[in-house]
């Protein structure tokens, strides 16, 4: 059954309530399936929980609301260009704090556009770092034994374990 309301309420994993318009929620495949299966009305008690924390969910909803008009009705090239600029600004976030949460949320909510955007942002970020910076910033422990490191060095001359 399809929804008769314009917006629904969802709960974050922290238990906070958020409103999302139906057209924005449709950007997520699981939310879209839910909208098709459940009749949401103004007196509906059903408040689905999304296993995403509040801070991340705010950003995900912001993305959905911005992209929904284009996703639902198509857009001109200038709109697409404007949206691209908006995406760049949107992704200027504290990486350690939220980028990987966004990535996990986009994966979990089957949101292709946001997932691709977050993957590209993560790749661009790593492109700009040395491998030892990546190890340090993301606290990646070198868990190879010295024998394994020696073997890998033979396979890949010049690789570093610092």
């Amino acid at each position: 059954m399809s929804s008769s309301v314009e917006a629904i309420t969802v709960l974050s994993s922290d238990g906070d309530e958020f409103k999302i318009t139906v057209s924005a929620a449709k950007l997520s495949k699981p939310l879209n399936w839910m909208l098709e299966d459940v009749c949401f009305s103004d007196d509906c008690d059903e408040v689905p929980t999304i296993e995403v924390n509040s801070k991340t969910l705010v950003k995900v909803i912001e993305y959905c609301e911005k992209h929904a008009p284009r996703a639902n009705s198509g857009a001109s090239d200038s709109d697409a260009e404007e949206l691209k600029k908006w995406d760049i600004e949107f992704m200027k976030m504290d990486v350690k704090d939220i980028l990987f949460h966004i990535l996990m949320a986009a994966n979990y909510l089957h949101m292709e556009g946001l997932y691709d955007l977050a993957c590209q942002t993560a790749a661009d970020l790593m492109k700009g770092m040395t491998v030892s910076q990546i190890r340090k910033i993301f606290h990646i422990k070198n868990d190879f034994s010295s024998e394994e490191q020696e073997q890998l060095r033979r396979q890949h001359p010049g690789c570093s374990f610092d």
Partner: protein, 151 residues
């Protein structure tokens, strides 16, 4: 989800997508940061070999050889990019030809080969029969407008 998510918390399938957006030299180096990811270097879906990231053509070809040798050829290869900036000896060209053939065995979808010094890389004729390829770019020249795209 945990309150703090790090790159190490990402599922391998997500990590692989990010890694496939990087040049292969960086991708392999990142895979070798931890045992958890080291196996991913054997099945990278996108191989972007760029000589501009290496100090010499010798190092570059040694690197290409190392990656192609350990690669699991049963794994899908989506993209194969090879960017050559230096003049090569005939022996080096032979090695390049072997690597292109190895890549073609993995039935790639997207192949781009750039030869900036126009040293006549011998492109295997089977490249034109490889029916998995949807994008093929073969380019000779400096990259400043005098390159020739064959396809």
């Amino acid at each position: 989800m945990a309150s703090h998510t790090n790159i190490t918390d990402l599922p391998d399938s997500v990590f692989e997508v990010i890694i496939s957006l990087l040049p292969v030299k960086k991708a392999v180096a990142i895979c070798l940061l931890s045992k958890r990811w080291s196996h991913i270097r054997l099945s990278l879906p996108s191989l972007d070999f760029d000589e501009f990231n290496f100090s010499s053509v010798h190092c570059f070809l040694q690197y290409v050889d190392a990656v192609m040798r350990i690669r699991d050829d049963s794994e899908t290869l989506k993209k194969f990019h090879l960017i050559l900036k230096s003049k090569c000896s005939s022996e080096q060209l032979k090695k390049i030809n072997t690597q292109i053939n190895t890549a073609l065995d993995s039935k790639p979808e997207h192949v781009e080969i750039y030869d900036h010094e126009a040293c006549n890389i011998e492109i295997p004729s089977c490249i034109f029969k490889c029916n998995t390829i949807t994008v093929l770019k073969l380019c000779e020249g400096s990259g400043h407008g005098d390159e020739s795209f064959f396809c």
